[in-house]
């Protein structure tokens, strides 16, 4: 029975791809979405089955994939990754129904989307090296096709696709090498073989494998400094695709690290997890900083993805560190926090990217400096974005807060019991967590406030209208889920605990309990998210009532009177006088000047007649990615230089070509004797 789920996931995806590529434009998106839903539903069914019982789905056949065959196993760890992917995928594809008319109904896109979703869903099912890698590469390839949707119109999309393709390929090569090393040393390519043998490998091999896997999967998760493709590709992908990439695909990078580090290798020494934590700290800080100073809506969201993945890596690292120093309870809490952060991130980042996609559809731009006033024009999208923003800013009563709280509790209780190195790194992690928290709040106040509030800053924003109903429903569902998970985290926590136990290869034991208030078992930590929310709501109600009573009692003013705002005495206020995203981020940019090193360009042209009169002032700042500028660009330039030099190897002279052979012959003769 359970095998049916697996077959259905794969089959529905392939059928969706075929129909999406073959049907006429009127019906292809509908068919693709329907089959994607079937695929998601089957995956969800499998995941729920696994999580609600101790049953593990396994399936293997040698009829598919020559020389290796396919092995499928779904355990609780995999299942917990399947769930958010399928939820985000269902919402995004439903949203796609409305988005399709805006340039996402080509054959290639309709064919790639179901395949993309299916390969993402199946990655956690994979239980052999070959199966995993094939699905992993399929996922990369199909998402690349989606990033390329706008290639004929936008140079940026082409460039993003190239960055994405090359970085992903390099990452996949690292993963491939790691898994192949494991399988070669373990003597079998199924994960169960590897698990059985990996503990007996030499520490050098284990360390190499872990570092390679961390690099490869870290790049997929957007960990700094391997993140450079992410803000480009996630920003350029069309709405539903970017939601899937940022809300679902990056999770699989985390999955890979847990899979290799915890499951296959069965945990490791302290330095592994210090490395993970350092990667997490860098990603979180860097991502938050760039999110806070970026003025492109989707780029901001993408950097925030790096930031959130950094938090998850910190949690994973903390879990490993606590585990390695013998503190199972805090290790368990940190692992649960990591997985909860992952689930939460999927939901709110999905909602945010879908809302951003809606903004792009309605206004044709992602530039925050050209937006504004959308809350009145697109109320549903605006609320979705606001909810997502409050979630990502870890504010109660939304879901982001629960994960952050759990992580803080894990760190708090783990700290006093650890050794010096762990203490130092965890303290740094806490400081990072705190700083990124603040920066994220600033970033999302900016995104919401500049993008949706105030006055429209361009004609496009002025003319914006609310988007199609399917898009609103798709995005709204995720936003609603943000609230639900924020109020009742117990909906997912038991499943996450089971998955965390499976990841750490211990017997499942609860670390939290309570539907209304969340208790940490064995530690003094309680949170009552739903009571908190109820308190907030009733307090707000009371305040509103008081405000209304105060009004009614005194006089009969019209409720609220719209007026021109104050402009230092100036009568006319234009939208251009508002703060823009750039000016909003300016103070932070100044504070972190030394890190970001923005290039500023002040261009003053004076009147010819007198230097005291100024004709025009042009001021430009650009804060392109400093890691890209200082590490990637020189590297690319170096490779290009070599490419130019190497051309002389093949300069056309037949005598030179013969000389190669002659020299080779002489060398061979000398070597053989």
């Amino acid at each position: 029975m359970n095998d049916v789920y697996v077959v259905a996931v794969g089959l529905a995806g392939v059928m969706g791809a075929i129909l999406g590529g073959a049907l006429p434009v009127s019906s292809r998106v509908g068919a693709a979405v329907a089959l994607t839903w079937v695929s998601c539903a089957a995956a969800l069914g499998a995941a729920v089955t696994v999580l609600s019982s101790d049953h593990v789905i396994t399936l293997s056949t040698s009829a598919i994939l020559p020389l290796t065959g396919v092995t499928i196993t779904l355990d609780p760890l995999g299942a917990i990754f399947v769930i958010p992917i399928s939820i985000v995928a269902m919402a995004s594809t439903f949203y796609w129904l409305g988005y399709a008319g805006h340039g996402l109904s080509s054959r290639s896109a309709s064919s790639a989307m179901p395949l993309f979703v299916t390969s993402m869903l199946l990655v956690p099912f994979a239980a052999s090296v070959a199966t995993f890698l094939v699905l992993w590469e399929m996922m990369a390839l199909t998402s690349l096709v989606l990033v390329l949707t706008d290639q004929s119109r936008r140079e940026a999309a082409r460039s993003a696709a190239q960055w994405y393709a090359v970085m992903t390929h390099a990452g996949a090569a690292a993963i491939l090498l790691a898994l192949v090393l494991l399988s070669a040393h373990a003597g079998g390519q199924t994960f169960s073989d590897i698990e059985a043998h990996a503990r007996h490998l030499s520490s050098a091999v284990r360390g190499t494998v872990f570092v390679l896997a961390l690099l490869g999967f870290g790049s997929k998760a957007g960990a700094v400094p391997l993140h450079v493709w992410l803000p480009k590709a996630h920003a350029e992908a069309p709405g539903p695709a970017s939601a899937l990439m940022s809300g679902a695909m990056v999770n699989l990078g985390i999955y890979g690290i847990v899979l290799v580090g915890n499951r296959l290798l069965g945990g490791g020494p302290v330095w592994w997890w210090l490395l993970v934590s350092v990667l997490g700290v860098m990603s979180a800080l860097y991502g938050a900083l760039y999110a806070a100073t970026s003025s492109d809506l989707k780029r901001l969201l993408a950097y925030s993805t790096s930031d959130n993945m950094g938090l998850i890596l910190i949690a994973l690292g903390a879990s490993g560190l606590f585990g390695a120093s013998g503190h199972p309870t805090t290790a368990a809490i940190a692992m649960v926090a990591a997985l909860l952060l992952m689930v939460n991130h999927s939901v709110f980042k999905g909602a945010l990217f879908l809302a951003a996609g809606a903004v792009q559809v309605a206004t044709g731009t992602r530039d925050l400096d050209r937006l504004g006033g959308l809350m009145r024009r697109m109320p549903v999208t605006g609320i979705v974005f606001l909810v997502g923003a409050l979630s990502v800013a870890v504010l109660p009563p939304f879901n982001g807060f629960i994960g952050e709280w759990l992580l803080l509790q894990g760190l708090l209780h783990g700290l006093p019991t650890s050794n010096t190195w762990v203490v130092i790194s965890i303290s740094a992690a806490v400081a990072t967590l705190a700083l990124t928290g603040g920066l994220t709040v600033a970033a999302f106040v900016k995104a919401t406030g500049i993008g949706f509030l105030g006055r429209p800053r361009s004609d496009e924003a002025t003319a914006a209208h609310e988007v199609a109903i399917t898009m609103r429903v798709g995005a709204g569902a995720l936003a609603a889920l943000c609230l639900v998970l924020g109020l009742v985290p117990m909906l997912v926590l038991p499943a996450i605990e089971r998955a965390a136990a499976s990841a750490r290869q211990v017997n499942a034991s609860s670390v939290t309990s309570g539907w209304v208030s969340l208790h940490l078992l064995g530690l003094r930590g309680v949170l009552a998210p739903s009571l908190l929310a109820a308190g907030l709501a009733s307090a707000a109600l009371v305040v509103i009532v008081i405000r209304r009573i105060a009004h009614r009692r005194r006089n009969a003013w019209p409720a609220v009177n719209p007026v021109e705002p104050w402009g230092s005495g100036r009568k006319l206020q234009t939208a251009r006088m508002q703060y823009t995203a750039t000016s909003f981020g300016e103070p932070l940019l100044r504070v972190f000047d030394d890190v970001i090193r923005p290039s500023r360009d002040l261009d003053v042209s004076h009147l010819v007649e007198s230097r005291y009169y100024i004709e025009r002032i042009a001021y430009r700042t650009s804060n392109d990615d400093v890691i890209e500028r200082h590490f990637y660009r020189p590297f690319i330039a170096g490779v290009r230089w070599w490419g130019q030099r190497a051309r002389s190897l093949q300069n056309g002279s037949v005598r030179r070509y013969l000389a190669y052979g002659f020299v080779a012959l002489v060398i061979v003769l000398v070597a053989v004797t």
């Binding site: 708090l412 530690l523 307090a539 405000r547 009177n561 719209p562 021109e564």
Partner: protein, 320 residues
Amino acid sequence: MNQFAHFMTQVLVAVVQVFAVAVGGPLLLGLMRKVRSRLEGRVGAPIHQPLLDVRKLFAKQRMRPRESSWVFGAAPVVLVATVVAVAAVSPLATTHPPLGQSSDFFAVVFVLLLGSVVLALGALDTGTAFGGMGSSRSMTIGALCEPALLVAILAMAISARTSNLPALVRVGLAHPAVIASPARILALSSFLVVILAESGRLPVDNPSTHLELTMIHEAMVLEYSGADLGLIIVGESMRLVFLLGLLVNLLVPWGVAERPGVLFFCVGLFALLAKVAVAGVMIAIFEVFTAKMRLFRLPELLAGGFVLALLGAVTAVVAR
């Protein structure tokens, strides 16, 4: 029946705490102004003047900028609601506040942060340069405050092995040595810096300025009028009282009601008000002798707060 009585008691405690904070807030503002005036050689307005101001504002017309959305109107409500919600469940007058078991320090901080965020959004919704400016600056300060605040809480929580607020206060009562421990001293000094910055006091922001270019907080609320402005004044002053209340209870917990009983509670309430008043007076005296810092020198101050907190956390771990 007994449960119902217990429930009603809890509600009553909550209401009284909230009421005390709500009335105490404007009164504290008045007190601080009074002290300041006296030190500057003026008579100054009566201490209850802010209460009168608020009453007056509630009677005035509410206006909103032409292009603003519902967020503008919701901001003051959320601001007040957040303080009310946390004031109800925090160990202000008693160490057994309603829902005290789940009154978590982190949760309290994030709920308060929700209020600031919504206010900043409301400011951006005005569609004016001042709103954006105030919002941007306050968010910058907030972003730099948060690390100090979280690490300060962590430093205190590490030694107590919990971030539960009543438990933190009770630890101080049970083991006075904890209060004098370097970890808590460092953390509380950092907490103080954060309180000053967050509630817009000198040297971070001048609450009495009306010069647009130097305004931070005032720039944000420039467009609010009538009951909305009244709510903001109440909300902001409540937040100050609440945070000072937490600070004094963590620093000098004596007097707070440890056991149930009306008498204990009243003593606790009175002690709280007295301690907060003293703290307010001290802040007012400090403000007389302090000038506002330049905006771009603020990171230095807040970084100092952050380092204090971090040192606190590290000493807490080392001294475990």
